[in-house]
């Protein structure tokens, strides 16, 4: 039974950072990506910093490749859309799928692409390296109700229970001779009914049982909750946040000052 959730157990530098650092990191990435959204040649450095972050966290490269793989279509579409929008602006480079791609179109296209992908990778680092237990604390430490953080945890739990429930039901129905994985697509759809009806019933049951569990454990009775493993801000976190702030404000400042890697290289 696999657990649904992104957290990867580890002892890396990134894992050991206070979750609040990683949250701020995300905010910086978002801000820098917004500033660089018209210039992929600068935004790519934000992306590279995140690749370094993933490597430091010891996260499987597979995760990154998965994201990049899934976003290739999105990448091409973004480029084409923005390139066609800027067909007549800037220097002509090449024609792709009938679209005149200019340097400006390409820079904007990649900038817009990174605007989406950078925050996603940053979130991925956050959720892969912050223990679910700490998630609840982060919420209450940044002034949000801890219940909100808990709901996140609970929905993950609910999802994994539902997945294993789904498997059980499929097994039972298969044993009864219902071809839940029939090759015939019509049969397959028809056979979803004996799977989904019991599943929905079970999920309602599970939701009910989970809420009993929460009540029995005194969840939500006091506004203040204590933590057996409180977050501790260390000097390591201060250093990390300074480095992060310098790097991304640097990018933001340089970009706002009109710098572009592409124009520097191309000498335009």
């Amino acid at each position: 039974m696999g657990e649904v959730g992104l957290y990867v157990e580890g002892r890396s530098v990134i894992h050991n950072l206070d979750p609040r650092v990683k949250l701020l990191w995300f905010v910086f990435v978002l801000a820098a990506s917004i500033v660089c959204q018209f210039d992929g040649s600068v935004a790519v450095f934000i992306f590279l910093s995140l690749v370094v972050g993933m490597a430091l966290a010891g996260l499987p490269l597979k995760r990154l490749l998965l994201i990049v793989g899934y976003s290739i279509v999105f990448f091409i579409v973004t480029i084409l859309v923005w390139a066609s929008y800027y067909q007549d602006v800037g220097r002509y480079l090449f024609t792709f799928a009938g679209v005149r791609v200019t340097d400006v179109g390409l820079l904007v296209g990649t900038g817009k692409f990174f605007l989406i992908i950078n925050p996603i990778v940053s979130m991925l680092i956050f959720f892969s390296t912050v223990k679910p237990y700490d998630l609840v604390q982060v919420f209450s430490r940044i002034g949000l109700p801890y219940k909100a953080g808990f709901m996140l945890l609970l929905s993950l739990r609910m999802l994994s229970l539902a997945v294993s429930e789904l498997r059980n039901i499929m097994d039972v129905q298969k044993a009864r001779g219902i071809e839940v994985d029939s090759r015939n697509p019509f049969k397959r759809v028809a056979n979803l009914i004996p799977v989904f009806v019991p599943l929905v019933i079970r999920i309602m049951g599970l939701a009910w049982e989970l809420s009993i569990t929460l009540m029995v454990r005194g969840f939500g009775y006091s506004r203040e909750r204590s933590y057996a493993f409180p977050l501790r801000w260390g000097s390591r976190d201060t250093i990390a946040i300074i480095l992060i702030a310098i790097f991304y404000t640097g990018i933001i400042a340089v970009k706002l000052a009109g710098f572009s890697t592409y124009y520097m290289i191309a000498g335009v």
């Binding site: 957290y7 237990y133 945890l153 229970l161 049982e209 029995v216 005194g218 909750r225 204590s226």
Partner: protein, 291 residues
Amino acid sequence: MGYAVEVRNLWFRYMLSEEWVLRDLSLAVEEGEFIVIMGPSGCGKSTLLYILSGIIPNMIRGEVKGEIKILGRDIRGLKPEEITRSVGFVFQNPDSQLIMPTVLEEVVMGLENLGLDRGEILGRAREILSYVGLDKKSNMPPRSLSAGEKQLLAIASVLAMRPRILILDEPTSMLDHVGTMKVLSLIESLKKNLGITVIVVEHRIEWAVEIADKIAIMDRGTVVAYGEPSKIFSNPELIKKTGVRPPMISEVFYELIDRGVKVNRIPITTKEGIEELRRLLGRSAKPGTLT
């Protein structure tokens, strides 16, 4: 000692339902007693437990009539958190009673909700985990435990909050034999070691007669028999009417009585059965032939 639970003339029906699920039910449990509730499916056992643990009316609505006292106080005057603090509740499915990513975090969760300080939380958590034998698995995810161990963890997580009454609704019905044995022996030990009041719905009659101070038999929303196991099962007519399966050995004696054998008492445990059989055969059998 006072009463842990005192229920008098309790009537209950679920919202939007015409039918009374509990009808004129009365039950008094003394502090420190161990009570096993039995009865056919649908007779209202779970409903009664929901009322005693505050799930009704906090989570399900319905109409309640009658008197309910928990540890001497009227339940209507208790805040939900006061009920939670004094009454622990454990139910069938271990999976939906575990939420946190590790065993230790699971036990700690309820204590954090109570707002206890850190040292107290960790102390209690370690203590209870070693009590149920899961201390070596503190850092493992609950999903790596066996079903029986999961249920031990669910019970531990509730016990850590130190309720004075523990209520369990068929805690072994989803477990295999090994898991069942582990959970039952933990529940037994609570009576001996912790002295808390235990109310459990459990169908294993042979276990119940050994361990229970009193057995309550429910039928159609009310308690039809309540008392010490030996008293309960000494009344074959009543037992047959309720549809509860008596201990095997008692059944043998009901049969003997039907056939005209005169017995002193109806045994409920194998040990008592052997003694009684020995006495019956005493004159005809040589000593030592029946041990």
